[in-house]
């Protein structure tokens, strides 16, 4: 796949440490306790990197030594939105970085017969249209769920360019689907791989 197709896709910098986390999550022999532990670590890294995509302004501060540090400041007014159920696994990671951030939820179900995804529940802060939205969904294999979720956000007045999708694993096909539909959407993931670890939600929440 050539880079032009990838739109605003950004990969988490893959060092050995990240590769190990991915390996543990992929391994079918990983215990559930380990799985949750290492998933939380990877989530934290992805969330931190997603926050890195938020807009900021320059800001100088005085340090206790009296010197000036040329820093920067993120704009306030962000919010998280998780796609039920696996997206909720990422909420704690977001809370650990932004203690009092508002978090909305979307429930998307796929029809058993047609495999078509449809939104059955959505609850957001009232002013979501004026916020930067961090959309959380860890595993993307077809991208259909995310398409529906972004559609709902747009219906609530959130511009495409204000949405950052936080994702752990996704397939190239899913990226293409999402990018074709929403070229301005920012996507952050840790790995592009043709096979998605679809056991994530079940193993994380222990319902396998």
């Amino acid at each position: 796949m050539d880079n032009n197709d990838l739109g605003n896709l950004k990969l988490l910098e893959c060092n050995s440490q990240v590769a190990e986390l991915q390996t543990i999550l992929r391994d079918k022999n990983t215990t559930r306790s380990d799985f949750k532990f290492y998933a939380d670590r990877l989530i934290r890294l992805v969330i931190e990197e997603s926050l890195n995509q938020l807009p900021y302004t320059h800001c100088d501060v005085e340090t206790p030594t009296g010197a000036i540090y040329e820093g920067l400041k993120y704009r306030s007014g962000n919010c998280g939105v998780s796609i039920i159920r696996s997206g909720e696994a990422m909420e704690q990671g977001l809370r650990d970085c932004c203690r009092s951030i508002r978090i909305g939820k979307i429930l998307v179900e796929s029809d058993a017969n047609t495999h078509e995804a449809r939104v059955v529940y959505a609850r957001f802060p009232d002013d979501i249209g004026s916020r930067q939205v961090l959309l959380m969904y860890p595993i993307m294999s077809t991208g259909n769920t995310v398409l529906q979720a972004v559609n709902v956000l747009r219906e609530h007045g959130v511009p495409e360019s204000c949405i950052i999708l936080s994702n752990l694993f996704c397939t190239p096909m899913a990226v293409r689907t999402v990018v074709n539909a929403f070229p301005k959407l920012k996507i952050l993931t840790s790995e592009l791989h043709p096979v998605a670890p679809n056991h994530f939600g079940q193993k994380y929440f222990g319902t396998d």
Binding site: S16, R26, D27, N52, E62, T63, A67, C97
Partner: protein, 557 residues
């Protein structure tokens, strides 16, 4: 010296000096409760460093003086007296801080290399005043870290028959065969290399070794004293200066009689029998001939001020040649050099800069300061972990396909924090490594000298098998970090198994550490250009520990 009231008994000419025997009244409590001191320093975990700067072998344990067998017993505790004789001098209280001075100062030069300690051997007959001479040297040297090693610790373990002989004064404790020279050589060699050693604690009641040992470290000066210190040619080679204390035999016998009879409740006949049959012949056969090896012979022992003065002068010259001043040298070198390859700086992303903006701002509340520094620490630790060696591996996935990934080569990772600011990073290490072991090192700056000093050390026993993440929140000159790295190397941790992780470093500190320890990986989230005259990083964070723990001096507000 107020404790010299009895000295005239055998030494009428002297009134100002002290003698080891006269210290017995001071150390009497140690006899009443011989385990008190042992118990204090060693609560279960033997792998600790005593906080006192002068390490001394523990006193042999024993029961009541009456039941003790006919063996000379070390009654003094040099270490206690030289270090805690005047406790008020060791504590500085300022701005709500209590600082205990006289920790262990640097024992390596600014290239991080071990500086060989100066080893003084003191030999002399029984009751000749060797300990007094050692004590006088320590007093006059005024070097903060001196280790005193006594040959008494290396008595061999006696079998049952020998034990019985000892009880009736027929075992010869003054013969060279009574000592475990091999063990002694091993311990002294390691001490001279600046390594940690376990010194046996000899029990004069059971004539065996205690299960507990005394941990000692190499020092700037090591004093090794005993009756047969010059006997082994190998040991002789390790001594940089050899002193023989030559006291008149009559005086020595008088001291022995007084000590054994009035202080140890033994009878005249037994003491004389032991003296004539064993102590005296051994002195003539084994001890007196070794006088030939001595560089200096000190007549009359401890009150010989001229001799002590000469010795101390010589040692001072030698120490200066070896060079122990560190911090200033560190702060002034390496200007305008390119940054070393061992430095691994986190990518300066907007987010990391944003976090730094929070924690550097002087008006940030402590609650926010803690929260944002924790976020930053987590990123630093995650990044540090990625620098350990990994191997490629293939795993089976629930989706039925094989997946090629990576696993860390060794799961044996250990965190070591430099107190106090480094402790703030422990939680993050525990959050990313399950069941990780955490070691701690306390290093404080001596306000008088500006030099770092080592106070406290607790590390996993088998730390040499671990990859170590050494943590300190900020690194300015790098002096504390260098001391901590040196400690790890002294515990046999390979240099390339160490990662030094920090939130903020000054360029100078990075240069110093990289120059001294090129294989140590240095990880930080930001690099600042300067340090000020108080060794704070500029622009910096301020005092990280104070801000995190809320112990800022009140005049800052």
């Amino acid at each position: 010296m107020s404790q010299t009231k009895q000295i005239k008994f055998y030494n009428p000419s002297s009134s100002a000096s002290s003698d080891s025997d006269d210290r017995s009244d001071v150390t009497e409590p140690l006899y009443v409760d011989p385990y008190a001191e042992l118990g204090n320093g060693l609560p279960g975990d033997l792998n600790c460093c005593p906080a006192s700067p002068t390490t001394v072998p523990a006193k042999p344990s024993l029961e009541s003086p009456l039941k003790r067998s006919g063996r000379r017993q070390r009654t003094t505790s040099i270490g206690n007296q030289t270090t805690t004789a005047n406790p008020s001098e060791c504590i500085i209280r300022a701005n709500n801080r209590t600082i205990y001075t006289a920790g262990r100062p640097p024992w390596y030069n600014c290239a991080g290399q071990q500086v060989e300690p100066f080893v003084i051997g003191i030999c002399g007959g029984s009751a000749s005043g060797k300990t007094t001479v050692a004590e006088k040297i320590i007093e006059s040297l005024d070097v903060p870290w001196v280790t005193l090693l006594s040959m008494d610790c290396f008595y061999k373990i006696l079998n049952e028959k020998q034990h019985e002989q000892a009880l009736i004064n027929e075992y010869n404790f003054d013969h060279p065969d009574a000592f475990d020279i091999e063990l002694l050589l091993d311990v002294l060699t390691k001490l001279k290399e600046g390594r940690k050693v376990e010194v046996p604690v000899y029990n004069f009641v059971t004539h065996g070794r205690e299960s507990q040992t005394k941990t000692m470290y190499g020092a700037n000066v090591i004093i090794f004293e005993g009756i047969l210190t010059f006997h082994s040619p190998e040991v002789l080679k390790l001594l940089d200066m050899k002193i023989f204390v030559d006291t008149d035999p009559d005086i020595r016998l008088a001291r022995r009689l007084k000590r054994d009879i009035s202080q140890r409740g033994r009878d005249l006949r037994g003491v004389l029998k032991q003296y004539l049959n064993m102590v005296k012949p051994s002195y003539c056969n084994y001890i007196a001939p070794t006088m030939a090896h001595a560089d200096i012979i000190v007549p009359r022992g401890g009150e010989n001020k001229v001799a002590i003065h000469l010795i101390v002068q010589h040692v001072h010259t030698q120490l200066q040649l070896r060079g122990f001043k560190l911090r200033e040298t560190l702060a002034n070198s390496y200007k305008d050099q390119p940054m070393p390859h061992s430095l691994h700086l986190l990518h300066p992303t907007p987010q990391i800069k944003g976090l730094h903006t929070f924690i550097r701002c002087r008006n940030t509340s402590r609650d926010e300061f803690i929260f944002y520094s924790k976020r930053l620490i987590r990123l630093v630790i995650e990044f540090a972990l990625s620098l350990f060696p990994f191997k490629t591996t293939t795993v089976e996935t629930p989706q039925g396909v094989l997946y090629e990934g990576k696993r860390m080569e060794s799961r044996k990772i250990c965190g070591v924090s430099i107190l106090r600011a480094g402790e703030t990073m422990e939680q993050a290490v525990c959050d990313v490594c399950k069941d990780i072991r955490i070691g701690k090192i306390l290093i404080q700056t001596n306000l008088k000298t500006g030099e770092p000093e080592l106070y406290y050390l607790r590390l996993p026993k088998d730390i040499k098998d671990y990859k170590v993440i050494l943590m300190d929140a900020t690194v300015a000159t790098g002096a504390a970090a260098m001391m901590a790295i040196r400690v790890l190397l002294d515990h046999d941790v390979p240099e390339d198994n160490i990662i030094l992780a920090s939130l903020l470093m000054a360029e100078i500190g990075v240069h110093s550490i990289a120059y001294a320890f090129p294989k140590v990986k240095i990880v930080t989230s930001a690099l600042d250009p300067e340090i000020n005259s108080k060794f704070y990083v500029i622009p910096g964070i301020g005092n990280f520990g104070d801000r995190y723990f809320g112990t800022e001096p009140s005049d800052e507000y």
